[in-house]
């Protein structure tokens, strides 16, 4: 009985098991049938739809790089343009032995050691970038010779590219700047700005100057081409095209002829000149001497040229107009004079009897005037005309450093002017607070005395000095100095006018302004420190000479120019605007180690003014650096 029950159970169990197996088998078939239905749906019913999609997958999108905008001066002269040329480019990822390949290529086209070095430098700098040029600007013979042998060089291509060129070369190097190959830092910057897509296919980006500042406007918008590709990724035909939008042209306030003239006027001197149109703040000339050839940088500079530029004691890569910081010397005096009048520390009639030095109350230390024996009786007008130091020692002392700081600040010194080039230096307009912060030291009265003649802690850039002069010429209306006047749409040629921006208006008493400005006119007249530079001018020039000490003198030491090493000689400065009754140009000139302002800077300024206002080219060049000069200032 038991046995039969067990057997029966066993059979029942087996039956149930088999039943479940059958159910499972049914499920298997059902689910496979479901799959089949899905396959049928995809492969029969929707076949055409998916075929189209698969075709679309074979379509590739190729970027078309826009032409970079041109840069033109105020008269339409071209300062940066593009030209088409062939380059020989290597895709390093496709090449096993780079050296061997380059050696083989050298049998076909000339590859100089400079080319090799530049290529390796590019290779180090740009890991993420596909193809790099080994040779640029191939001639037709070289192109043909390589084309015939192309099959031997997988990973090497000839490409027609647009190159940037700067016709004025080093004349405009610092203003225009240059473009160069996009490196990893640039990529990061582009990614941050969300501009990476717009730079697909682009190899270059503005690195300095206006090329950098107006990169967005100059670059344009990248176009796209839909291309059908075959299984090997080769383009078969173009399906659609979204044309690129060329970058906009920049029309500058800069006058290229003036720029070129001023640059040449420096001769062998180093220095800077900034000329501004007072009525708009437009920068007419922006010179930093010496310059460099920006064309060297466009395709990556070779190490030899780079070292030469970078290690030169003349520092040609430094933009002196923008970043050079110098003591303003006596060019500081007009601003101080106005401060004295405006803050009622001096009246026009107030005069001193100048013994040739100044002493602080209770001290025997003598702050010497540049003229031994002094200028006799000196009022404010005369103090500017003869550039009397003693007058300003005492004026500065009476004003106090904080008054000087806050008043002269209004002329834009010790701060960025806001010009449209990156990297402006701040300069330095000292105050009690600044010294405490910087040196953890309190301000001494003696510090103020030195500031009175533009020495001491005071530092300005040539741009700041020109800007301050323009504000003075403009009776206190301060424009933002700017190089760019118009942005021109490359397609419609429509001009987008960038209105001159008035930053602020300073309300000085007209009588005070007139007093200072008249004195500045007399500086270039008979008896003034710049009398020689101003002689026989058909238009009135307002100006002020300045001399900035490079080395400090001991108490009783006399500065004898010929005894001092050339690079330790004083810097010559001159600020001016003309015609004085209706200023069209305001400028600041700095001649490094040029000696007295009247000797080098003022004649240079006169030449530039004559050229700009009269279209006149001078007969004689500047006096050579070694010649003995008359003493002044």
């Amino acid at each position: 009985m038991n046995h039969s029950v067990e057997l029966k159970d066993h059979q029942r169990e087996l039956y149930y098991f088999k039943l479940r197996l059958v159910i499972a088998a049914g499920l298997v078939l059902l689910l496979f049938f479901l799959l089949f239905l899905r396959f049928f749906y995809l492969q029969v019913l929707q076949h055409e739809h998916y075929s189209t999609l698969a075709e679309n997958n074979r379509i590739s999108i190729v970027p078309i790089v826009p032409n970079r905008g041109l840069i033109l001066d105020r008269n339409g002269a071209v300062l940066a343009h593009n030209y088409s040329a062939y380059t020989l480019e290597i895709t390093p990822s496709k090449v096993e032995n780079l050296e061997a390949l380059i050696n083989q290529l050298a049998n076909l086209v000339e590859i100089t050691p400079k080319d090799r070095k530049r290529f390796h430098k590019l290779l180090e700098e740009s890991k993420n970038i596909e193809s790099l040029p080994i040779r640029t600007r191939l001639n037709d013979v070289e192109v043909a010779r390589f084309a015939v042998n192309h099959y031997r060089f997988p990973g090497v291509e000839i490409k027609a590219r647009l190159f940037r060129h700067y016709p004025l070369g080093e004349m405009t190097a610092h203003v225009i700047g240059y473009i160069s190959r996009i490196n990893d830092d640039d990529l990061e910057w582009l990614e941050e700005k969300g501009e990476l897509a717009n730079y697909r296919g682009s190899d270059y980006i503005g690195k300095t100057g206006l090329e950098q500042r107006y990169e967005t406007q100059l670059h344009g918008k990248t176009g796209f081409e839909q291309v059908e590709i075959d299984a090997n990724g080769r383009a078969v035909r173009t399906l659609s095209r979204t044309p690129p939008v060329s970058g906009s042209n920049l029309l500058l306030a800069l006058d290229a002829r003036l720029q070129e003239f001023a640059e040449k006027a420096f001769g062998n001197y180093r220095g800077a000149l900034v000329a501004i149109e007072p009525s708009s703040g437009g920068v007419l000339a922006f010179v930093s001497k010496p310059g460099f050839d920006p064309n060297l940088f466009v395709d990556g500079i070779d190490p030899q040229n780079w070292d030469a530029l970078n290690n030169s004691p003349d520092k040609p890569l430094t933009d002196r107009a923008l970043r050079g910081q110098y003591p303003p010397g006596s060019t500081f005096k007009p601003f101080l004079a106005l401060a004295g009048l405006e803050l009622n520390k001096r009246s026009p009639q107030y005069s001193i009897n100048d013994p040739g030095y100044f002493t602080l109350p209770g001290s025997s230390h003598r702050y010497r005037d540049w003229k031994a024996g002094g200028h006799g009786v000196v009022d404010l007008h005369k103090s500017l005309v003869v550039s009397c130091d003693s007058y300003y020692y005492s004026l500065a002392y009476d004003l106090g450093i904080d008054n000087i700081h806050s008043f002269v600040s209004q002329f834009g010194m010790g701060q960025k002017t806001g010009i449209d080039i990156e990297g402006e230096a701040l300069g330095l307009l000292p105050s009690q607070e600044w010294k405490l912060k910087r040196f953890k030291e309190k301000w001494f009265a003696g510090d103020t005395v030195s500031v009175g003649v533009g020495q001491g802690y005071n530092l300005v850039t040539p741009l700041q000095l020109a800007n301050a002069t323009a504000i003075l010429a403009n009776n206190g209306i301060a424009f933002r100095p700017h190089l760019l006047r118009y942005v021109q749409d490359s397609k419609t040629s429509q001009l987008q006018i960038l209105p001159s921006e008035v930053l602020y208006r300073l309300n000085f008493k007209p009588a005070n302004l007139a007093l200072v400005k008249n004195a500045l006119i007399d500086v270039t007249g008979p008896g003034g420190t710049a009398a020689r530079a101003g002689a026989n001018s058909p238009y009135p020039i307002a100006g002020k000479t300045g001399t900035a000490q490079v080395i400090a003198l001991k108490q009783n030491e006399k500065y004898v120019e010929n005894r001092v090493d050339e690079r330790q000689r004083d810097h010559a400065l001159f600020i001016a605007y003309a015609p004085a009754d209706n200023p069209q140009i305001a400028l600041a000139v700095l001649v490094e180690n040029g000696g007295h302002g009247a000797a080098t800077a003022a004649p240079l300024a006169r030449q530039v003014l004559d050229f700009y206002l009269l279209g006149k080219r001078p007969q004689s060049a500047l006096p050579a650096p070694n010649k003995n000069q008359e003493a002044d200032d």
């Binding site: 149930y16 098991f17 088998a25 496979f32 899905r38 396959f39 995809l42 492969q43 998916y50």
Partner: protein, 364 residues
Amino acid sequence: MIKRLWHYLTAHIDGFLLGAVCLLMLLGLFVLYSATGQNLAKTSNQFVSMLVALAVMWAVSNVPPQHLMRLSLPMYALGMALLIAVALFGDVVNGARRWLHIGVTRIQPAEIMKIVVPLMLAWYFDKHEAVLRLRNYVVATLLLLVPVALIARQPDLGTAILITAAGFYVLFLAGLSWRIMLSFLVLGVASLPVLWSVLHDYQRQRILTLLDPTTDPLGAGYHTIQSTIALGSGGVTGKGWLNGTQSHLEFLPERHTDFVFAVFSEEFGLFGNLLLLFLYVLVIGRGLVIASNASTLFTRLMAGAITLTFFTYAFVNMGMVSGILPVVGLPLPLISYGGTSLVTICLGFGILMSIQTHKKLVKT
């Protein structure tokens, strides 16, 4: 002599099953050659893996089921220990803690559990054969769910699902009552929100993407979109061997591993799919016949579970490639590139063959 050697070699081989398996493997080699971009090295590599897998199959087929049964408990214990070790000291690769270092090599214990879990459950039911009560099903469920939970935590959703399926098949074939299954189903549906909250972000994304792949065409939906394009553009007859544009233009991701079916289907079309389904049905059908003929509860359950697990592999993989199931990392059995799953699957077939061929010996 040769006859005896031949007998020795083939005594425990099931010719029908071997034939179907070898046909699938051969098909796999052809597809792989295309999917790897005609990479002979990878293809021959896979060929070597196949030989190893067949050797394992042969070896296991010679182990009598009773021995396997005796190994069940120790192997389960070892497997659990390894899983716990992974959870504690495992290597993290691609955000998942799946690998365990043992001396010079490293292993993925979850892979072994695909066989060990059904083995354990079959042993358990066999041991309590005469008196199967609700309590036994509860214990069996626990024996299943503990390793599954550990594996899902790694996280390895594909393997966890597969082992759950394998365990469930044992329970199902052991006679789990319909009422309980139904109530579990209801419970399962009800607990979906809870399950949702414990899923990893990428797992949730996969499920969301399944519902609408176009929401994320370059991210999570990319796989599905590209693979359905491959299938659909293949049409009835396919684009021909080595002519798939989706695969050869490199639009298809993981095209020689989990998504190899897309390459196959693009190049061989609906006809190719039918052939593949047919071969799978042959293997599964043979497996179910072996199960129905098996002599003990243990062997019956084991054979059934192995066969149905194999089916699950195939169904889930083809389902995900054709876009009706979420993308879980399961290979197409016997076709996808990779030695591990190949060996595990053939080990299962070895057990099937052992069950089929040792039955006669028991009877006589």
